[in-house]
């Protein structure tokens, strides 16, 4: 069993992103005279930044526990999925650069009871989580879309092999 948390550096960077974005968009709404349409647009964008700040705080509070039996998130809105119950897995990759460099991954796991766990690659030990999830998906015969298959291959993870067998 292993316990993982999100990297401090990435959390600080996200707090900064959310804080700067919120300040830049909320400040003019409150203090600067603006046209009505712009006011609505800026207010909506500032809400998105506020949501991101909340999400970052939730990530900071979350710990991910990976064991041979399953995966569990500890903290607010904690959930668990036993590996034999894993019914869906999706691995996406995002990057804001044109050459798709310096991006990050987004792993979504779904259990039979509707439980859904979302993990970003800034989690310490993301590789371990990915290997366990891919092995479970392989064992359970989970159908993966082409994007997930290609991203797993690019990440060097094979399906159907238990983490310890690799």
């Amino acid at each position: 069993m292993s316990l993982h948390a999100y990297q401090k550096n990435s959390l600080i960077a996200d707090y900064l992103r959310g804080g700067i974005g919120f300040a830049v968009t909320a400040f003019p709404v409150v203090f600067a005279p603006m046209m009505g349409t712009f006011q609505i647009i800026f207010a909506l964008i500032s809400l998105v930044f506020a949501g991101f700040l909340l999400k970052t705080w939730l990530r900071a509070q979350t710990r991910v526990e990976v064991a041979d039996e399953g995966i569990r998130t500890l903290g607010p809105f904690g959930k668990s999925i036993a590996w034999p119950d894993l019914t869906a897995m999706e691995l996406r990759y995002y990057s804001t650069q044109k050459d798709k460099a310096k991006g990050w991954m987004h792993l979504v796991l779904k259990g039979g009871d509707g439980a859904k766990i979302t993990i970003e690659s800034t989690l310490d030990g993301f590789d371990t989580v990915l290997e366990h999830a891919a092995a479970a998906a392989g064992r359970n015969g989970v159908a993966l879309n082409q994007t997930t298959t290609e991203n797993l291959a690019a990440a060097g993870v094979s399906m159907g092999l238990a983490a310890g067998d690799r």
Binding site: D14, R17, G18, I20, G21, V24, P28, A32, P33, M34, M35, T37, F38, I45, V48, F49, G51, F52, K55, R92, Y93, Y94, S95, T96, D99, K100, A101, K102, G103, W104, M105, H106, E120, S121, F126, D127, Q146, T147, E150, N151, A154, A155
Partner: protein, 332 residues
């Protein structure tokens, strides 16, 4: 996806600020200002120029202030909906522009829809029937469209409409609706006139898009997963729609950002030929006469459209194809 959205918005904010600064500096770069141009014109016509009046006007329009101060006033004014004052028309920019921004948006949106509506089925057909007679025919038509300058096509259509139908197809509405408030009859008149500039501006874009979609779809159709899907008996239509088409749609979406400024800048010349009441001809006039606030507002509008177009296309691409590009250096 929220993280992606946030990072993308954070890129947009400094981009727009940088564009606004660059736009303002470029407008100010030519020596002199609007008043200098006006004085030169008056002197060339032999008229006397009262220097004290000119100085008073310069002070009134804020042209005697430092550039950064002028920029700050203009930029904050944009947020308040005050786009500045047009020296040439002696009116606020918002009043001068009137319906032009809206009509430009309608024209360019219709053009993009036209490009997609035509390129999409032809591109798919050409890829699925490679080297057939129809494929060659459509490719030929596509190349003709690509090779014909827009303004030439506009002139040919104007000539043909005049010779064959005895009508003028210039303008975006019948003359009696110009400067009139919006009504159903005016909207219908716009729709009636819209097809000509849409076809003229859209033809070259359509041809390019057909070629790109055809090439991308051909690449996908030759991949192993498509062969496997066919070998396992998946109906050809489903085997086409399920993944290959989805993957080959990337250039469609990636082009939204590039297409907006291309279509708008391309439509400026066509707008002059077809006498369209869009932003293009007015922008060119404003740049020639150094009507800085009018030109600056137009350029900011174009930049804003470009940045929003890129933003939308990047979001759609991230939704549609969140894959690693090998060699892209994924940071895990």
């Amino acid at each position: 996806m929220l993280t992606y959205l946030i990072r993308r918005i954070l890129i947009m904010i400094p981009t727009l600020i940088a564009i606004s600064i660059i736009t303002f500096v470029i407008i100010q770069l030519p020596p002199g200002d609007y008043l200098t141009t006006m004085i030169n014109e008056m002197q060339s016509q032999g008229e006397n120029v009262d220097q004290s009046k000119i100085e008073a006007l310069r002070a009134q329009y804020g042209l005697d202030r430092p550039m950064y101060e002028q920029y700050f006033l203009w930029a904050t004014g944009l947020l308040r909906g005050d786009y500045g004052y047009s020296f040439e028309y002696q009116l606020p920019v918002a009043d001068v522009v009137g319906d032009r921004v809206f009509l430009t948006f309608v024209l360019n949106f219709a053009t993009i829809l036209f490009i997609w509506a035509v390129a999409f089925p032809i591109g798919i057909y050409s890829a699925c029937n490679q080297y057939s007679l129809t494929d060659y025919g459509l490719t030929f038509v596509g190349f003709i469209g690509l090779a014909t300058p827009n303004f030439l096509l506009a002139l040919i259509l104007l000539y043909l409409a005049n010779i064959w139908f005895g009508t003028s197809i210039g303008g975006l509405m019948d003359p009696q609706y110009l400067d009139q408030p919006w009504s159903m009859a005016k909207a219908l008149s716009v729709l009636e006139h819209l097809w000509v500039p849409v076809v003229v501006i859209g033809t070259s874009g359509t041809a390019a898009m057909i070629r790109r979609l055809r090439a991308n779809l051909l690449d996908e159709l030759q991949k192993q997963y498509v062969i496997t899907a066919r070998a396992k008996g998946l109906p050809p239509f489903r085997a086409l729609m399920k993944y290959p088409l989805r993957m080959s749609l990337n250039p469609f979406i990636a082009d939204i950002g590039n297409m907006l400024p291309q279509v708008i800048s391309g439509s400026a010349v066509v707008s002059m030929v077809l006498s369209l009441p869009t932003t293009g001809p007015m922008l060119i006039g404003a740049l020639q006469s150094q009507d800085m606030y009018l030109a600056g507002s137009f350029l900011m509008f174009l930049a804003l459209l470009t940045v929003i177009g890129m933003f939308v296309s990047d979001l759609l691409l991230a939704l549609l194809d969140p894959r690693i590009r090998l060699g892209g250096g994924a940071n895990r």
